[in-house]
């Protein structure tokens, strides 16, 4: 049964309340109209009776009873003031003239009911007056017309009241049904997703109404969640895959050591290589955790103003001999004393990973260039090499976790170095650009300058007090 559910919907309750209010106002309006109309009609009737009474009274005063009886007969024939009835009688009850079928009891105004010959009961408004001592005159009007009018007004409003209730209820139910349908379709989608089908989407009607807009927003949210889930799934698969290899290798080595080496030296060598293997696995875990922590963004609280040029110089200084020993050249063009607000440790590691990446994935004789420069509005750091470079279609993917070019699969490395670079860059608002150095690979870092509170104001506001003014940052 669908109806009870409809009654429970918020829409129906609102509609019911609205109908109730509207119906009540119709009822109040009806009562007011009825009462004022009835009062006005009554006043008009009384005025007519009183006017007639005055006319006849003046006839009596001019010509006595004879004239009065004469006038009453004329009035009864012509009824100049409308359907009035008259009766001239004596206080004792003798009817002298007129056709009023009843005998009024008292003087003044009265309402008299009378059963007519045809069985209907008539209601009359009667005014009785005494002329002199022996003559009384009653003028009466039938209230039938007024009663009919009042009844018509009452009936009219009663029908309107019933119609409001009926139409309102139908409208409320219809409205509730429509809304319930839309809400239900969203609910059904949500239930399906809870049940595990993340490909479900809320149907959009194309009317661009509130529900469509809500549905579109929900669908966009679902798209985003799907995307995140997909990347999460990808990462866990990659982690499993990338850890499986060193673990398998570790197992092989331990097995070999168990079978073959009888000598202490052999054992030691096997254990040493096993420890190395475990360290490699731990290194992957460490790098993943570190990236996750950097991405969480809590590190920003440790941002300080620092000499970016010194950070660059230190890293280059550290890597130059290693590059040379690896048969490569590391050249640097660093503009001194460029200030930046950030985390020294992470920026150091970012640059170290970029340079390491260039050293490790290029052939002998490669020239690696690192530069850092600035003008009023920009700080730009570049790490480039004239090695084989990266195919254009792969360039955007180099920052993904565990991404490695096919040819570099054989060289050691976790494929996490550049992911960490990306995480650090994102934390600092540094834009990374991967370009073709023709030949070779060029990675451009655009450091944010100017209003530090600008694009990431919301996220940074918590430590804004520590961030110096712009003019201090770029000197």
């Amino acid at each position: 049964m669908r109806l009870p559910r409809i009654i429970r919907t918020a829409t129906f309750r609102l509609a019911a309340l609205y109908v109730l209010l509207f119906a009540s106002s119709v009822a109040v309006l009806g009562v007011i109209v009825y009462l004022t109309t009835a009062a006005a009609l009554d006043r008009r009737l009384d005025a007519r009776i009183a006017g007639e009474m005055a006319t006849l009274k003046s006839a009596f005063e001019k010509g006595g009873l004879v004239r009065l009886e004469q006038e009453v007969r004329i009035h009864q024939r012509t009824r100049p003031a409308g359907p009035l009835d008259y009766l001239v009688f004596e206080p004792g009850g003798a009817r002298l003239a007129g056709d009023l079928p009843i005998m009024p009891g008292q003087l003044g105004w009265s309402n008299v009911d009378h059963k007519e010959s045809d069985g209907d009961i008539s209601h009359r408004r009667v005014l009785t007056a005494a002329f002199g001592s022996g003559v009384r005159l009653a003028v009466a009007a039938d209230r039938e017309q007024i009663d009919e009018l009042e009844e018509a007004i009452f009936n009219g409003f009663a029908s309107a009241f019933a119609a409001v209730i009926a139409l309102g209820s139908i409208g409320g139910i219809a409205l509730s049904l429509v809304l319930l349908n839309r809400v239900d379709s969203i609910r059904r989608t949500a239930e399906a997703i809870i049940a595990g089908d993340l490909s479900q989407r809320v149907p959009v009607r194309g009317t661009n109404d509130d529900f469509d807009r809500l549905s579109r927003t929900l669908n966009r949210m679902l798209d985003r969640i799907t995307e995140l889930m997909e990347s999460l799934r990808q990462v866990s698969t990659d982690i499993a895959h990338d850890l499986k290899t060193p673990l398998a290798r570790l197992r092989q080595r331990l097995e070999t050591a168990q079978k073959q080496s009888q000598s202490d030296d052999g054992h030691n060598a096997a254990i040493e290589s096993a420890i190395g293997q475990v360290d490699e696995i731990l290194g992957i875990f460490g790098a993943l955790l570190r990236i996750a922590q950097i991405e969480a963004g809590t590190r920003r609280s440790g941002f300080r103003e620092l000499d970016l040029s010194a950070v660059f110089a230190n890293v280059i200084d550290a890597f130059a001999p290693a590059a040379e020993d690896a048969g490569k050249r590391l050249d640097a063009k660093i503009k001194p004393a460029i200030r930046f607000v950030g985390d020294r440790e992470l920026l150091t590691q970012m640059l170290a990973n970029l340079i390491e990446n260039a050293i490790r994935h290029t052939p002998d004789g490669t020239r690696i260039e690192v530069s850092l420069g600035s003008d009023r509005d920009h700080i730009i750091g570049i790490v480039s090499d004239n090695g084989p470079g990266t195919p254009a279609e792969e360039r955007e993917r180099i920052f993904q976790r565990f991404y490695r070019l096919e040819h570099s699969r054989s060289t050691p490395g976790s494929g996490l170095g550049l992911s960490l670079v990306k995480a650090v860059a994102d934390l600092h608002g540094i834009a990374l650009d991967v370009r073709d150095a023709e030949p070779g690979l060029q990675i451009v870092m655009r450091f944010p300058t100017g209003d530090i509170e600008g694009e990431t104001a919301g996220e940074r506001s918590s430590h804004s007090a520590k961030v110096p003014e712009r003019q201090d940052v770029v000197t």
Binding site: E272, I275, L282, G283, F285, G286, L288, L289, R290, A292, Q293, I294, T298, R299, G302, N314, V315, D317, A318, F319, P321, A322, E324, D325, R344, E345, L346, T348, Q349, A352, E356, I359, R360, P412, G413, G417
Partner: protein, 225 residues
């Protein structure tokens, strides 16, 4: 040296304690923060090894309380893998050094040794001497056997670090931290390449090697026997 180990994981604690005892240290052990605080406060320890995550009272609060009480024992924090903010927090709380778990025992021993002899280095000392090698911190000059040796700034710092810890093992990680301020592990052999250049200048052409490689641990600078 008298060393206090505050670590709740029994296996890790045994690993550390045994390693320290083998090296000839006197070791006390506490399995919880409260117990550790009591021992450290009553103490006379040269070095305390404090795990960051302890039941009851965490390592950070423990060290803050110790420092508030005026206990000057050198503190080496042990932190978990990936805790990138731990080092700064640890140092701010009054720690002197930190080490990320899991670690190699020689790394821990080298750091404990370096911490334990810290007060021995007078801040006023401006010339470091080992055998016929002399390093002048003011003039930034190095002389061996009366012959001046020209060093790059990083090589100078590397040599200074080795000489300050003369006779003791200095690990690769310690050098990365002290000389380059690298608090991560680069895959490139930075230390090795710099060390080989330094050796080329300090040892080559002189009688008796001063810089020695300690297998599986690091480097050590010591006078020839």
């Amino acid at each position: 040296m008298k060393v206090l180990v505050i670590e709740d994981d029994a296996e890790t604690a045994a690993y550390i304690v045994n390693g320290l005892i083998e090296q000839g240290h006197v070791v006390d052990y506490a399995g919880s923060g409260r117990e550790g605080l009591l021992l450290a406060g009553s103490g006379g320890y040269d070095v305390a090894i404090v795990d960051r995550m302890l039941p009851g009272l965490d390592g950070l609060s423990l060290v803050k309380m110790l420092r508030d009480k005026g206990v000057g024992t050198a503190v080496l924090f042990l932190t978990n893998l990936g805790g990138i903010d731990d080092r700064v927090e640890g140092l701010e709380a009054g720690g002197d050094d930190y080490l990320v778990k899991p670690f190699a025992l020689p790394e821990l021993l080298a750091r404990v040794n370096a911490l334990g002899r810290r007060p021995a280095i007078g801040a006023a000392e401006t010339v470091l001497r080992v055998a016929d090698l002399e390093l002048d911190l003011i003039k930034r000059s190095v002389v061996r056997g009366g012959r001046a040796i020209d060093l790059q700034p990083r090589e100078f710092k590397l040599l200074e670090c080795l000489m300050r810890n003369a006779g003791r093992v200095v690990t690769r990680t310690m050098l990365l931290e002290k000389v380059w301020d690298f608090h991560f592990d680069p895959k490139t052999n930075i230390v090795e390449t710099h060390m080989s250049r330094l050796r080329g200048k300090v040892d080559r052409g002189f009688a008796g090697e001063l810089i020695h490689t300690v297998r599986g641990a690091g480097y050590s600078l010591r006078a020839p026997a």
